[in-house]
Amino acid sequence: MKSLISVADLSKGDLERLISRAIGFAEGREGPAGNLHGKTVGTVFFEPSTRTRLSFELASRRLGAEIVSFDLAGSSASKGESEKDTLLTLAAMGPEILVVRHHADGFPERAMEWTGRAVVNAGDGRNEHPTQAMLDAVTLMRRFGTVEGLVVALIGDIAHSRVAGSLMKMMPVLGADVVLAGPPELLPEVSPFPVAGGLDDLLGKVDVIYLLRVQRERGAETDEEYHEGWGLDGARASRMRPEAVVMHPGPINRGVEISGDVADGPRSLILDQVANGVPTRMAVLAEIAETLR
């Protein structure tokens, strides 16, 4: 793997290998040896995301890399430099790997073409967030021992979510079944998966309820209305299968897509997801490092 732009570029074998490597890092079986010793990772975030950037930087550090970090606030981007020039300038400082986030679909691929560097997509527009989907797979693998055969329900703002974009491509490859539910205006016009009319219709039937973050500026519904219709509260969670789990890519809106007691409850894997972010990104960076000369 030379770059990671889309989960669609990964075969089932690629995914399984990366997941197993990530679990190795997470459980200390694979030591954070100096896979990236003497290398530099540049993080380039044209859209703010402290937690994803920190997770990548921590992963890079654990692998022995140096970090050069760029984020939009306080940069020359505000002084009229084009994004391409910004990237070329950063690339000229010598990082072998660029971790790129941008609000435009497809930007990381362009970054790869402009700079000729290895690029990891850290989220582009409404398109994809591959490492988030992969850390979710790592989380499920550690909980269930397999992803094959799990039924995963994605709930909420699917049309605008890059996390959903990557999950919908990755889950079928790993053998999971996907089903969707959410307010009609937030669903894809033609869904590649079955769409349930309501969250209540799915509760006792699925292994994973994956709640997507509600973008507060979107939609006509108030927070209370959304919570009533699509939020997972304690009463709904109690109707889930005994072993079923709740996931969310964060940051959560308590009382909107999820109630506080469910977020903090025994079904919640939300903090496991965060914890698996670093080893997952280590696995991705380590694998890319092996392709560098």
């Binding site: 329900a153 079944d177 089903v179 033609v190 998966f193 769409v195 349930a196 039937k205």
Partner: protein
């Protein structure tokens, strides 16, 4: 384009309320709010919508006895019963022990185009039980299920050779109508003994040589016990039961209506109860009709002389619903498991976008009385009896093969 509106859909996530849009033979979406302008609408209010049924055991009588049934009338009966795939049994005249013959039946079935017809081939030449048929060539011609149905393979050495050769053909399965002829026709006719004796022997052979074995139309409690043990042992055994053995028994005495005469015969109430338990818990994987058409005049010659067999395609769903009124198990028994056993692609799948549109709309609350059949014969034990559960529509390869749009 067809849209199936207002039903409860069997999806990979279980039964959900939604609409199903079919475009160009494929399920295009499973979501509500489809624009119905210019689209054929099938109303599925109050209905279950699931994968079209798959039959592992259909006697189409073609070639050779087409006054009873032929590929056309059999296909029509299948569509009327909600089936999108059936398995033609090879005990025709001549028997299907020849790849050319098999290919001909397949091709004619495709031309009719009302249902997939998977053609089973014989295990032995001429179904004579002596020499193993050219299994490899028959497999090349499309056969996956191999059976001498009606005349079980009695010789253990022949059975062993067939099982060995089928292991080299991925998806190949030996299906046996296990019934020891000598015991079955003896005057004592001990209930189930003829079947159990042969199943026991077959399982011994299977233990020794390996392979995949499918037990056809299980009828006795003793066989259920043998199967349960064989599965626990890890043998590759699957089994089917018929709708009539699940819903009818001999009530302690032989019936005299020849529409109740079939092979294996109806057994005692405790046998039937064991079968019902076995299909509910999964010891028996699938329901198969053993659809066996005979004309009125053939059946009207008195019980003793009448030919054995009853039709079943058009009443199967109602009879199974009477036994297992649980949607997931219902579709498992009638569609998902049989498609898996027969290795049929594009059949027996939970509904999601992208799958071939082989679908059934089943109304579990409505009732009907079978009087007229699409089959050429009407030798049904359910003739004139009220049944609950109506097949409202069948969609095969994206075309409506049964039922009317609203």
């Amino acid at each position: 384009m067809i849209v199936i509106v207002g039903g409860s859909i069997l999806t990979p996530a279980g039964i959900i309320r939604s609409d199903v849009l079919v475009v160009d033979g494929v399920v295009a979406s499973v979501q509500s709010g489809v624009d119905t302008q210019g689209v054929t609408v099938l109303d599925a209010s109050g209905c279950l919508v699931g994968p079209g049924f798959v039959d592992l055991h259909t006697h189409l009588r073609d070639p050779g006895q087409t006054w009873k049934e032929d590929l056309s009338t059999g296909s029509a009966a299948a569509a009327a019963g909600g089936f999108t795939a059936i398995t033609a049994m090879p005990n025709t005249d001549p028997p299907l022990d020849d790849p050319k013959l098999l290919a001909d039946v397949s091709a004619r079935g495709r031309d009719i185009g009302l249902t997939d017809i998977a053609v089973a081939a014989t295990v032995t030449r001429g179904r004579a039980g002596e020499e193993v048929a050219p299994l490899e060539d028959l497999y090349q011609a499309g056969a996956r299920l191999f059976t001498d149905d009606g005349d079980p393979v009695a010789n253990a050495a022949v059975l062993a050779e067939a099982l060995r050769r089928l292991q080299r053909l991925p998806g190949g399965v030996l299906a046996q109508h296990a019934e020891d002829r000598a015991t079955a026709t003896g005057t004592a006719r001990p209930a189930g003994a003829a079947e159990e004796g042969m199943v026991r022997r077959d399982l011994e052979v299977l233990r020794e040589v390996g392979g995949r074995y499918h037990c056809q139309h299980v009828s006795s409690a003793g066989t259920v016990a043998l199967l349960r043990r064989a599965r626990a042992e890890g043998l590759e055994v699957t089994a089917e039961a018929t709708p009539h053995h699940l819903t009818l028994d001999n009530g302690g005495a032989d019936r005299t209506d020849s529409n109740f005469k079939m092979y294996p015969p109806l057994r005692a109430p405790h046998d039937r109860e064991a079968l019902v338990g076995a299909v509910r818990e999964g010891v028996i994987d699938a329901v198969a009709t053993d659809h066996a058409p005979h004309r009125d005049e053939e059946k009207a010659v008195g019980y003793e002389s009448a030919p054995r067999g009853v039709i079943g395609l058009e009443t199967a769903a109602s009879a199974v619903w009477e036994t297992v009124a649980e949607p997931l198990r219902f579709f498992e028994l009638l569609a998902i498991a049989p498609a898996r056993i027969a290795g049929l692609s594009g059949q027996g799948q939970a509904i999601r976008p992208g799958i071939p549109a082989n679908l059934v709309v089943f109304d579990p609350a409505a009732s009907w009385v079978p009087r007229q059949f699409a089959s050429r014969s009407r030798n049904s034990p359910f003739l004139g009896r009220e049944m609950v559960g109506v097949v409202r529509a069948t969609v095969y390869q994206g075309r409506i093969t049964h039922g009317a749009p609203s």
